[in-house]
Symmetry: C2
Subunit: 260 residues, 2 copies
Amino acid sequence: MLGFSYSFLARPEIGVDVPLSIELDRSSPVPLYYQLAQAIEAAIRDGELAPGDRFENELALASRLTLSRPTTRRAIQELVDKGLLVRKRGVGTQVVQNPVHRRVELTSLFDDLVRAGQEPTTELLEYHAGIVDEQIAAELNLAKDHEVVTIQRLRCANGEPLAVMTNYLPVELAPEADQLEANGLYQSLRARGVHIRLARQRIGAKPATRTEARLLDEKAGAPLLTMSRTAFDDSGKAVEFGDHCYRASRYYFETTLVDR
Amino acid sequence: MLGFSYSFLARPEIGVDVPLSIELDRSSPVPLYYQLAQAIEAAIRDGELAPGDRFENELALASRLTLSRPTTRRAIQELVDKGLLVRKRGVGTQVVQNPVHRRVELTSLFDDLVRAGQEPTTELLEYHAGIVDEQIAAELNLAKDHEVVTIQRLRCANGEPLAVMTNYLPVELAPEADQLEANGLYQSLRARGVHIRLARQRIGAKPATRTEARLLDEKAGAPLLTMSRTAFDDSGKAVEFGDHCYRASRYYFETTLVDR
DNA sequence: CAGTGGTCTAGACCACTTA
DNA sequence: AAGTGGTCTAGACCACTGA
């Protein structure tokens, strides 16, 4: 099924606002607000809209693209939430100064590395089912005698160790060891029809234990960045609890906060 | 100016959905979607809506409260973004399992401690203006010879050191030392008409230097949680860059991630 | 099939800023 | 006073889910 697209070209206007050339495909299943947000984001990242530039106001943009105001507004709001635009009532919308980094997202370290072009590998250190710590059962909202699979993996990139990851899953959801090694945890869960929609993370630091130090090629007591995460599926049920330790010298988290 | 309010009481219905009793004040300046979101959030936190409960669908809720669907929808969306509700198309809306912690927000450590009922104190260790590192000037989007105020403070709670905070501000925005000590950085900026709207944070870990160790009552090389942040005002201009070190034993960050 | 959320339109009125 | 974003309404059609 091929969509056809409307094209709106930049008009050679004289004015403060930069008119973007934006293409929308109205027959695409991709929502219009999303297409628009992507197009604006691309314009910012490509430098077509420079930091500090005033942005075309939403009514003008809407009428220029033959969109309704709410749809246009939603696209702009996406970028405000991402930290790319800033709005002030009665004034207008501007592009934020400074280059942007990516924000913390619901992805695995694996995805991050793939995106960065590195070649990540994973070694399965441990895989067993059994009764676990009461505190971990509580994180998963399980009875304390519910069987839980414990997985421990070592993530490396370019032959260098990056992180030790320990994950706990209710036995009925846990993927097989071989599938896990082939596809990673989140993809294995997706293949089982488990869609993770929400995660709560706690980020801290701690000294490496002797075991962690050995695995990560650090000295005992060296600083590690820790992240523990509880993930929930699309019915709000806790499906995974993870406890990850990253080498502080190789990893950090980025977040963008917006005051609303 | 006193508003009068409509009251919608729970009807003794037999059904899976729990009808909330929600009051909206239509003459209040507080937006209706926000009032509604607050009311639902309160119902969840008070246990009126239990984890896993099915939530009333948005059309029913809208007509019950005499609200339009978009307004109702926006309220629900706020809570989905906060990680309290989960929606699935064709199915419905449910309350997420597990108690919720707060998410990372645009607040200072000071605010956090006040909220937790602790009595925080701040000691100003350093305050001077001058030329700074080129990298820091770049974070603030300033020419490298622009004068910058460097502030270093030690934050304590209950007499115990918690964090060393180093902040850099363009000289024309920096508050006086005495105002800083009295009101904290962000409040001082607000008093000057600087409204921080956006922040980009990087969270990592590192070993304590000898100086940091002495200030924080830790050993040299002890793990510290680090956060560096660039803050932007409502015109998208960088107004502050901070480099903070927290004792790993006393502090962590929490985030909620939503997949959309 | 009925019920759910996801998207979209075409208006309206208001609050705030700047000049 | 003019221009901006913030809120709100009253519809519409669609896609997906489950019985």
